[in-house]
């Protein structure tokens, strides 16, 4: 965090009369923008109609001006399920067929298994379409680099599917993070807990391996790759700096069904030293990450611990927990609060000004749309207006490369240095 960021924030905050508005000034505009993404029309093709592809179809249908005209999946059952959700869309058996035959498609969303992203992304970019590629970007750093290189050379939009950068609550909380409200970073902690086998049922045993690619150690990035990449990018987005090393461990705590990919993992990233006096070599703050398929308690969140406050982000919700000795900024006294055992969190409400003026502040707790919706809305707007994506191919490369190295650390049990060069295209 630097001083000019703080000054910039305070300039906005002090320009506002009467407390609450400080919370709300940008995000209200954000929410309004997201609801009406663009004046133009965009014809979209979906590549991959599995669970994520179907979720994407649902969110895209909320966006004005978006028409889903093509869907492809190599599995007929999944293709049918996708087509049931999108009236008027044409089904295709492969991405190549879609790219060739669906001439009207201007933009594609890639929601296939991670290890298939590279070829599809390169073909889609090469065909002159705008591309939204789900995170993680690919399963090897080489593949990520190839995609990022092609994206950089393309005149079209490429979005890396990292949702924090479009999430109104995350963007709001980031302004606090970069201000005196949180001040200096002490540590970061994030988790993703869900009780599930992480298996896709295979009626045909011959398709078991293909469907359960996440459990195939040869191609899976494990929990830190498939789930953690979004959370790693949240830290990248907030810090603008990247971890320098990672170590980790993992094991099978519940699903002893022959799998080799850990169902429970932990890792520790060393963040760059912020210039404070270090003990034992001057290492920076630690970002600790854990994920499990064996317990669902407290789901998925990230916490940034600062010297003045902690910020907790949980995708649809966000809170700030202030230290007693932190300076008061004025607006907090009017803010909505929630009790968490011994602590009281100030609810970060994205469209607070408008809601407060209507006496409906409490109704504003939680985002009105899913996190995925805002990421897709940003992509659509970028594609229609010809503007850079909220999350670039470079952001995707960095977050995915860090996740790939973290998975390597978990699998090998070794501490891995994250070289700057690993995070760059060439």
């Amino acid at each position: 965090m630097n001083r000019s960021d703080r000054r910039e924030f305070m300039k906005h905050a002090t320009a506002v009369v009467g407390g609450l508005a400080a919370v709300a000034i940008w995000p209200e505009a954000e929410l309004a923008r997201a609801a009406q993404p663009s004046a133009g029309e965009l014809s979209v093709g979906i590549i991959g109609a599995g669970r994520q592809g179907r979720a994407i179809i649902g969110e895209l249908q909320k966006l004005a001006g978006v028409k889903i005209t093509a869907i492809c999946d190599t599995d007929q059952g999944r293709l049918d399920a996708g087509l049931r959700r999108a009236a008027g869309a044409v089904g295709y058996k492969s991405h190549a067929e879609l790219l060739e035959k669906a001439k009207d498609v201007q933009a594609v969303i890639i929601a296939t298994p991670t290890h298939l992203h590279k070829d599809i992304a390169l073909d889609a970019i090469g065909s002159g379409r705008h591309v939204y590629c789900e995170a993680p970007m690919a399963h090897t750093i080489e593949d990520c680099r190839a995609i990022a290189k092609a994206a950089q050379e393309s005149r079209n939009v490429f979005a890396a599917g990292l949702e924090a950068r479009s999430n109104p609550i995350y963007k709001l909380a980031r302004t606090f993070f970069k201000s005196d409200a949180v001040r200096d970073l002490v540590a970061v902690r994030a988790q993703a807990n869900q009780k599930t086998s992480w298996r896709t049922p295979a009626s045909d045993p011959a398709r078991e391996r293909e469907l359960n690619w996440r459990l195939d150690p040869a191609i899976s990035l494990g929990l830190v790759g498939e789930w953690g990449v979004q959370q790693i990018d949240t830290v990248n987005f907030y810090l603008g700096k990247y971890p320098t090393a990672v170590r980790g461990m993992g094991g099978i705590r519940l699903h002893a069904d022959g799998r080799e990919v850990a169902d429970t993992i932990q890792c520790e990233f060393t963040l760059p030293a912020p210039g404070t006096t270090g003990v034992g070599g001057g290492a920076g703050p630690v970002f600790s990450y854990s994920a499990t398929l064996a317990n669902s308690y407290d789901g998925k969140y990230e916490v940034f611990y600062g010297t003045n406050a902690a910020i907790k982000l949980a995708w649809s919700h966000g809170w700030m927990f202030k230290e007693a000795d932190a300076p008061t900024q004025g607006w907090e006294v009017y803010a909505n609060r929630q009790q968490f055992h011994n602590d009281e969190g100030i609810t970060l409400i994205a469209d607070a000004t408008k809601l407060a003026s209507q006496g409906k502040l409490k109704e504003g707790i939680g985002l009105p749309e899913s996190s995925l919706y805002y990421a897709l809305a940003d992509f659509v707007r970028s594609a229609v207006e010809g503007k850079p994506a909220a999350c670039s191919a470079d952001d995707g490369l960095k977050a995915t490369a860090i996740a790939i190295l973290a998975n390597k650390a978990i699998v090998s049990g070794e501490r891995i240095t994250i070289e700057d060069s690993a995070l760059k295209v060439g």
């Binding site: 049931r84 049922p201 006496g359 409906k360 109704e363």
Partner: protein, 343 residues
């Protein structure tokens, strides 16, 4: 060995039982089916800002809202049951529920919420659309596959149909994977049965109804009726479920949309068997409010309704009794005479 799994959703516990040998496969199927239910909660929750229902209630008056094919069918069924039940079932009760203090945290725009205790509030604010306008609270466009609200303050509450809809979609997942014997229920009040348990003819599901009996854990309703299910669904509605206090008076959670007030019907419990859980759910509410299926005899639907009479609780059966409902002889011998009288 049957495989069991469960998830919390829609304010209750959904449970699935699958028959088969391959536990790894069955677990994966169960998880996918339950995921569908959780996704349906995200669509139809009144308590989340980001649900599709919240969006319909927020924007549906200004512009049509696009639906997927399954959701469109859900609203088609809601319209059909409203029509056939003479308005006893109507999803346009969100404002009413809130006004009566039943869904205090629902995500309704403030202007949709009136005070039910005020004489004029219901009428002036369109909280009783069925009575006031004789038109449904929403209309569907099958070509564009959209829904649009018909009143400025209309607001939908799918509490009496969404659980069944979620069960139908979960059952579809299970059958698509070739599983021939399964049972899924939501909070025990909505049940969908696929096939029958291995070696059995039907899934037998007990329906509680009748007098309260004292048990070690406190009073509970005696079990009087067994629903026999095979590739069919059961919905159960009762007045003894959720209640609220209004000025010292205890009111039930089932509204009669035609009066704008909690239902005062003499039915205590209504159990309905139908081809889909969505229809069973909706018709169980209608049968509770109407104390029976009424004049309508929708195809494939039959009901067992426990009605309070001076002589006590009696069951009224409508539809194909012998096949779908059987009296639970083990604990209901004492009331058998009354049962026969009723028939």
């Amino acid at each position: 060995m049957p495989f069991r799994h469960a998830v919390f959703a829609m304010g209750t516990r959904f449970e699935i039982v699958l028959s088969g040998d391959d536990e790894v496969f069955l677990r994966a199927v169960a998880e996918e089916a339950l995921e569908v239910i959780v996704a349906q909660e995200q669509q139809w929750s009144l308590f989340r800002r980001d649900s599709l229902l919240a969006r319909i209630n927020r924007e549906g008056w200004q512009r049509p809202v696009l639906l997927d094919a399954d959701s469109f069918e859900l609203f088609e069924d809601a319209l059909a049951v409203r029509e056939q039940s003479g308005g006893a079932f109507d999803v346009g009760v969100a404002g009413l529920m809130r006004a009566w203090g039943l869904h205090e945290h629902s995500m309704l725009p403030a202007e949709h919420v009136a005070d039910a205790r005020s004489e004029e509030s219901g009428a002036s604010r369109g909280l009783r659309p069925a009575v006031l306008n004789d038109v449904p609270p929403f209309e569907l466009d099958p070509v564009a596959r959209t829904i649009r609200l018909t009143h400025e303050v209309a607001a939908l509450d799918l509490g009496a149909i969404a659980k069944g809809h979620a069960l139908d979609l979960a059952a579809r997942v299970v059958t698509e994977y070739g599983i021939e014997s399964a049972l899924i229920h939501g909070g025990t009040s909505s049940v969908v049965a696929i096939g029958a348990p291995p070696g059995e003819e039907v899934w037998r599901v007990a329906v509680a109804g009748g007098e309260q009996e004292e048990h070690a854990g406190g009073p509970r309703l005696a079990c009087r009726m067994i629903a026999r299910l095979r590739d069919a669904a059961l919905g159960v509605s009762a007045h003894h479920g959720r209640t609220a206090n209004l000025e010292g008076r205890r009111i039930g959670h089932v509204m009669d949309p035609r009066t704008g007030e909690p239902s005062r019907s003499h039915a205590v419990v209504a159990a309905v068997i139908a081809p889909t859980a969505r229809l069973a759910d909706a018709w169980s509410t209608a049968a509770l409010v109407n104390a029976g299926l009424g004049v309508a005899r929708p195809a494939g639907v039959c009901a067992a309704v426990a009605v309070r009479r001076e002589s006590g609780i009696v069951w009224i059966i409508e539809g194909d009794v012998a096949e779908h409902f059987e009296h639970d002889e083990r604990i209901a011998r004492a009331s058998a005479a009354r049962w026969e009288d009723e028939e």
